[in-house]
Symmetry: C2
Subunit: 331 residues, 2 copies
Amino acid sequence: MATIYQVSERAGVSLATVSRVMNGNAKVSETTRNKVLAAMAELNYRPNSIAQSLASNCSNSVGMLVSEVHGPFFGEMMSGVENELRTAGKHVIIAAGHSDEASEKEAIEFLISRKCDALILHVDAVTDQYLIDLNERTPVVIINRTIPGLEDHCICLNNELGGYQATKALLDMNHRQIAYISGPLWKHDARERFEGHKRALSEFGLPLDEALCVQGDFHEEGGARAMETLLASAKPFTAVACANDEMACGAMNCARDHKLDIPADVSVMGFDNVIMSRYTFPHLTTIDYPAGEMGRMAACWVRRQIYQDKQVKVRQLFEPSLVLRDSVRQL
Amino acid sequence: MATIYQVSERAGVSLATVSRVMNGNAKVSETTRNKVLAAMAELNYRPNSIAQSLASNCSNSVGMLVSEVHGPFFGEMMSGVENELRTAGKHVIIAAGHSDEASEKEAIEFLISRKCDALILHVDAVTDQYLIDLNERTPVVIINRTIPGLEDHCICLNNELGGYQATKALLDMNHRQIAYISGPLWKHDARERFEGHKRALSEFGLPLDEALCVQGDFHEEGGARAMETLLASAKPFTAVACANDEMACGAMNCARDHKLDIPADVSVMGFDNVIMSRYTFPHLTTIDYPAGEMGRMAACWVRRQIYQDKQVKVRQLFEPSLVLRDSVRQL
DNA sequence: TTGAAAGCGCTACCAG
DNA sequence: CTGGTAGCGCTTTCAA
């Protein structure tokens, strides 16, 4: 592997000059630059990015922490990040936090030890204060969470609005007895979506019926269990809004096990619009969460703020939107 | 940020000694080691991994190339890799190849420029020879493909067997008119699965009916289109085996659009057992592909061969297995 | 067991 | 516009 030194020798210039043509910032005469370029080509020279990082104190890598590496939701998000960052010549190091405070912190330390220039985080368990302190050590951009005092580092979806849209859609279709399967309420997004549900209800002058609200876990099994609870309670309902698509799938399966037809007997509303929601039967009516685009925006934020690429524009706030399919019917 | 130099000063030892206690290979007296450890703790010292990499010529990072970052299949695989490697203190850099030769090569060059110690590849488009040459530059481990001459670098599923198992299961349930929706036949795994299908057929003394075989694209839409073609051809069939779950979903949706009941009118068999297959209706009968475990094994291979961790055991060959659910019925 | 010192390959500052 | 050179923070001989 050729080094910058050999290139400089071959081109008959100094090592510094080679560095200049590589980085293209300082002025180099056309002739010199051509000599260098030729030497590089002849030697098939590739700069050593580790050495560059050490010397420049910039690793050109950004860390990304997601709850789980698998799962359609995070896949879209990582995909957006990877795409955007690689075109900028940066690389992304991924790690999983598993929605657990200790794991999340450990993963973050790991990423920091790798000298990431910035961290893109989708975290549930760590506190706001921790993130604020963390940002003093390494720049962070946070997806799906608003941190007071760090607002300009957050890429958010209006979860409350999404929750509202979901239930509003049900209400507009004349459902009045609407059950709700929430996510774990210690998670911000789960709480916000639930708030939206309540707002829609109250807008229609309906009280929140505690008996029709059950907490799930954002997973299929939890959705199924929640539906089981709902069905067992004997409280009638014509529709159930779920805080994410996975739980909606679980709920649909459970309902079917109880010989209920969807949407004839019960309408089901999801949230996230993960790819899977198009595969279910019936196709899931849900709220679109532009995860890929939000991941891309997090990457753009990094390009702009950290790598000083002022060309790229960043959008921080995203709006959810209703996706009508077949799992909800008009009453 | 404290450097090794400051630690050595504070501990009253040489810089080399600090390095020794960090790496724990050379002998250091108990007292000296404790002094150093104390100094490290007081200064909250973290080694600079970039400098370590430059000096040791080992980046402690491994590149991973998948076809798509999103998608349940690769998610499982990356998840397995990430888990295993992070516990070993290595980090994984991900990139997407999009099943396109130019993109795959570009992504590989990108990973190499990042000085990855090894590359874990799930590639479709590049040639065997390219991979053999590549391995001379950087050690590679290849998932889901057998490269002659590089067998010990391959982590494989017996795709042919899977294809056989799928069709065999259908035959065992007395299906005799079995359609087949293959993947793109330029892809190795698609071809192997198709071979398995043919073997099962011939084992039952059945000829391959070309009119019942259509090539898909491994995506939902392709599966739906293929089913459309099959239905239009007016050739009767009681079951369709699909080369992956996504196409099976597409096929099921298409069949349903044609007012066909699954499995009453037509049985559908998938392949991969991605998470989604549990969410479909009816639940998809499929062939399990242990993608997560195979990813983990690729990581183990790297730990063992590259990082010399002879503790970890590597398994290179995996067998698919039938997962019976509801989309196939006994005739 | 410990220390001194020579790099690893590159950037960036200072002169000229 | 170009060259010289001092690091970046660590690993790894070589001697002691």
